[in-house]
Symmetry: C2
Subunit: 118 residues, 2 copies
Amino acid sequence: MLHQSSQLDRLYHALADSGRRAMLDRLSRGPASVSELAAPLEMTLSAVVQHLKVLEESGLVRTEKVGRVRTCRVDSKALSLAERWINQRRKLWERRLDRLGDVLAALPDEDQAKDSKP
Amino acid sequence: MLHQSSQLDRLYHALADSGRRAMLDRLSRGPASVSELAAPLEMTLSAVVQHLKVLEESGLVRTEKVGRVRTCRVDSKALSLAERWINQRRKLWERRLDRLGDVLAALPDEDQAKDSKP
């Protein structure tokens, strides 16, 4: 539980930067080398490497070095975990709002007269 | 676009702390006053107020003061925005994996012999 909590800390921290989200955007269209990843970004290669480290520590990105090329890819399991936590809270809240809506709908309707206007 | 990007920064930053997630957990079960929110948490009231400020700035929580009581509630629109960004990337990536699966499935199957074992 504590382990999952610190994993969620790292996941959301990794997502809280537009540069890192741009890198995830690129990687969700397919694997890329570090220099392919850096090319469209207005960042130094060293900044890209730093961001990549944060993404790797969060589990959102896996990298593999073959020869001199490091290939990066998204890990959809980590994306699912980050999504699931939010999704469960949103559903709880919306269910609450639905129940509130049911209660309101069961009350006598003071505006009924308006509906029968020509 | 830039506006949405900084909103996503604030959203994910707000989610990147287990104390703030515990507060969202509580609020997704219903509105609460600041002291109700603080009660189950091992935090000073001043820490709770600081976290609440981060949650309000992210748009995840709205608060309203009536008399001396400040009531806090979740805003599910902000939760949806945080969820949608992740969901879209995960779907892109999984679609890519599906296409890769189709390509692999179309290749001649070297393991077919194993299936016919007794």
